[in-house]
Symmetry: C2
Subunit: 211 residues, 2 copies
Amino acid sequence: MRLGILGSGLMGGKLGTLWAKAGHEVTFSYARSQSKLDRLAREAGAKAGTVAKAVEGADAVLLAVHWSRISDVLEQAGELDGKIVLNCCVPLDEQNRDLVVGVTTSGAEELARLRPRARWVSAFNTSPSEAFFDVFAGRDREPRPQLLYYGDDNGAKRAAAGLIEDIGYEPLDVGPLRTGRFAEPFAMVTAELAYSQPGGAKLTYRFSRFR
Amino acid sequence: MRLGILGSGLMGGKLGTLWAKAGHEVTFSYARSQSKLDRLAREAGAKAGTVAKAVEGADAVLLAVHWSRISDVLEQAGELDGKIVLNCCVPLDEQNRDLVVGVTTSGAEELARLRPRARWVSAFNTSPSEAFFDVFAGRDREPRPQLLYYGDDNGAKRAAAGLIEDIGYEPLDVGPLRTGRFAEPFAMVTAELAYSQPGGAKLTYRFSRFR
C-alpha cells in the first residue's frame, strides 16, 4: 500500500520504518526538523515530504502527532474525504498525564469522596466474573493471568494483592486511585471483548515485556 | 482474613466463594433474595447477614454492586472509617453500556467529527512505541502480542488489520469508534505500566480465554 505518515516522531517514525520493511511505499511527513525527516526516509528506503504530499495518492495515512498538534496537521492534511486514516493519537494534555477529552474522574475517586476515611482499593473490575473459577482452578500454573489493582493506601493495597493472589491472579499495581479514570474504561474494553466479540466471556489478560 | 461481601451477585458471589475456599472467613450480604444469600453461604461454608453485619468486624470488605445501588449499600454500610474496601464497581449506566462518571467522548470520536468523510480507524495507541521493533523482530513466533483497533468502516478496518499484522501484532477488533472512550484510557493504563511501574517500556499484552 501507499502509506502517508502524518507525524514522524516516536510512533510514526517506527511504524513507517517497519511498514517500509514490510514492502509498503511510505512517505514520512511532519517531524520536528526536515533533517530528521530526511534521515528517517533514507534509513527506511522511503520518501519524505509535506503533509499534503504524504496524503496525496496515499491508500491510507497514519495520524501520529501529539494532540496539541491535531488542528495544525489536519489543516495541512485537508479534507481527507474517503481516505483511510489510522489514528494512534490519544487526547493527551501537554504533560502527557491526563486525557483532555472525555475523561474527568472515575467511580473509584467518587466513592473515595463519599467515604473519605475508608481505605479504598479497586480490583477485579477488569475481569469478567465468568473467568474467576477457571483462574482459581489453574492458580498453580505459571504464567498466571494478571489483574489490575490501584489505590492510595499502601497497606490496603498489600491486603488487596493477597486477596487477588488467593483467587489465582498475579496482582498488577497500576498506581493510585486516580488510575480509575483509565482502568474503569479498560474494564469496558474487557467487557466489549468478553460479551460483544467472538471467543466467550472467560477472558483474562497478561502484559509482557521485552528485555 | 475476615471478609465482608457487599453485593453477592456475579462478582461478589464468586469471589466470596473462592476466598472461603482459600481459608478466609467470609460473610455474604446484599443479594436479590435472602434464599440466594443463604444458598451461597451454605455452599461456600460461609455466613450470610446484613450489610451492617458483613462490615462489622471485617478486616476488609468487597464492594460489588451495580452502580445504581451504591448509595443504598453505602448507607447500610455506614462510615467505613479505616476499613479496607476492595471496590470492583465500575460506574455503569442501567444498560451496562456507558460509564456515567467521568467518560463522555473520545479523541477518536472528536477527530471523526472534524473530518467526517475520512475513514477512521484507531490503533497502536495502546502500545508504547518502544515495543514495536521487538514485536516486528518476533513476528513469526506464536503467540504474538495483540493490538486493539476499532472503527466504524469495515473496509478501513480490514486495511488497518493488515497494517497491524505487518508490524507483527495480532489485530484485535474491539468494535466501533466509540470504543475510543474506553480504549484511549486503556492506552493510559499501558503508559502507566510502561513508564511509571517497574519492568520497562517495551510492553505488550495478550487477552486469553478459557474454553
